[in-house]
Symmetry: C2
Subunit: 343 residues, 2 copies
């Protein structure tokens, strides 16, 4: 079932729909959607299966799910719907809240307690309550996956899990926020901060209140998730030192350019003297550093391991289609993990 | 068992040895090596298990495997050893032959027919006989994996398999040969071709006869493998149009630089008018193209799919440790596929 049916949830639904046959042929994955809930669009529960195309098109038209001719029943709260549905997989894509992680946290806890696996694009609960949620999943023998929380579905957690067996991740550095990277890229082309920000807002890359991006809360949440999940730590989001890009001036940029350097908002996690240091801050990168050349809304993560010293993954940093595909990727991983990859 | 015990085979053996405990704890993977054969070092077969550390150190000292105190028996030919061993997994890392793929091809065919799964870093058989080998593996219900044939173990095939479910790969472009990329990087710094080549030879990046690299045979083999395996084709290595870097002059480089461009030896596979076009050639890349900034022996592959338009993986392009890890990655994938990823 879908909890949250905005751009990302709909993106996932579209991929599920358009790849239905390949997913069945290749992985033996067959599905029906038995519930959808959304803060703006209401909720619907139908054990016989919801027509996804109809759900997507009525969501686009802002028709309430209860009135969209999807059958079944509506009217329950989101938490009640999750508990009642007992879906195999709950696809959670509600908004990120980095203060108390709600309502996503309650959605995930309810789902895991109700015997559902969870896939999510919601950074709040994973950044703030990683240990609590992974412990709960373990106790309940459920699977919790969150590929889309970082790099918008570019497969970094799945890569680590299936493609880097027993590798120890020693450090990471990355450009994890598309909005600020777009702004910095525009500034490098000569715009000042406020014009670059306006541009980003016009294109839909930055929100009306851009604080979460430009003050680096978003990449701080992402590097927290990466450090905890990939380096097996238990660091707190609030302990990540972070500094945004609001103080960067056109002069800073031209000084950097004159010195063959580029300013990027870099998120890092590395061991310094046996202690893990995690931070996000504007950083001068030399021309020889490939991350200096990651431009626009693209994200990139460089990881250093005990077996491959230098591996970089570059991919989309935003977009409902990409994040929605990350959710699909997690759903199929769950299917395959539970069925033994027998295909 | 190991077939070929040079830098790459030993690299794999070292990773297996040093990660023995993690592999057992995390994946329930326990192993013994029952055979090693090598064209220069002879062969040994010991069902009770070969002491890997001893094998590695005697290989380094050029002691014949039969005389290294590894127990068991020696003296058989490689193909006889493979057939007799009937190992669960054959780790094939003999040299690449792009003319008739031998002896690697016979090793793999023998192994698959003898009930062994095969992992390999040997480009020859995979580039020249992909369909024959994958068909044979299918008939024999064996698994054939070849992560280390491209990008030296940077996990591209594994990524596609486990991290991009049901995605259709529409095109690929990449820097797939470390030697030529190192030479072009040196030339961009002002060296002429012959000095850059000498530098590469001194550092062990280029062979005494550098033809396979500088004439682009190596990246042509790799893009053949990528196109066949990732885009589900049946193209022939000999049909790949390829052009090397020997004709590039210092003047070409400085012309490119003056135009804010970089010359890279680019391997490409893309659909043009319903037909797959595969080629390798020196290509002018603009500064805005991230591949223009992949320098030295590093490799990179950019893939475009129907779900993620632009995904780039950057990693080592050479090295026994990296390629050896790619083999380990394949071995663990086989273990997990056969045991159902139950961990």
């Amino acid at each position: 079932m879908f909890v949250g049916f905005g751009t990302v949830g709909q993106g996932c639904a579209r991929h599920l729909q358009s790849h239905r046959r390949q997913l069945s042929d290749k992985y033996g994955f067959r599905f029906k959607v038995i519930g959808i809930t959304d803060i703006a669009k209401g909720s619907v529960l139908n054990d016989r299966g919801i027509d996804l195309s109809k759900a997507i098109s009525s969501a686009k038209k802002q028709v309430k799910l209860e009135n969209a001719g999807l059958g079944g029943s509506g009217g329950l709260s989101t938490v009640e719907t999750i508990a009642k549905a007992k879906a195999d997989v709950v696809v959670e894509s509600t908004w990120t809240n980095l203060t108390d992680a709600e309502p996503g946290l309650s959605h995930m806890v309810t789902a895991l307690r109700s015997g559902s696996d969870v896939v999510t694009s919601n950074k709040g609960p994973i950044a703030l309550h990683y240990k609590k949620l992974t412990d709960l999943a373990k106790v309940k023998r459920q699977i919790l996956r969150f590929e889309s929380t970082v790099m918008s579905g570019t497969p970094i957690f799945t890569l680590r899990e299936f493609c880097l067996p027993s590798a120890k991740i020693l450090g990471m550095r990355g450009i994890l926020n598309g909005t600020t990277n777009y702004i910095l890229t525009e500034m490098a082309k000569g715009k000042d901060y406020s014009n670059a920000l306006k541009n980003a807002q016009t294109r839909g890359y930055a929100e009306v209140d851009p604080t979460g991006d430009v003050e680096a809360h978003d990449p701080a949440a992402k590097i927290t998730i990466l450090a905890n999940a990939l380096m097996n730590r238990n660091i707190r989001y609030t302990d990540v030192k972070s500094e945004g890009i609001t103080k960067i001036t056109a002069q800073d940029i031209s000084n950097a350019t004159a010195d063959s350097k580029t300013i990027k908002l870099l998120a890092q996690a590395s061991e310094v003297g046996g202690k893990l240091e995690v931070n996000v801050k504007p950083t001068l990168l030399p021309d020889s550093d490939m991350l200096a050349h990651v431009n626009g809304i693209i994200n990139a993560l460089n990881i250093s391991t005990d077996v491959q010293p230098d591996l970089t993954l570059v991919g989309p940093g935003a977009g409902g289609d990409s994040a929605g595909y990350g959710l699909l990727c997690d759903i199929i991983a769950i299917h395959n993990l539970r069925s033994g990859w027998n295909n």
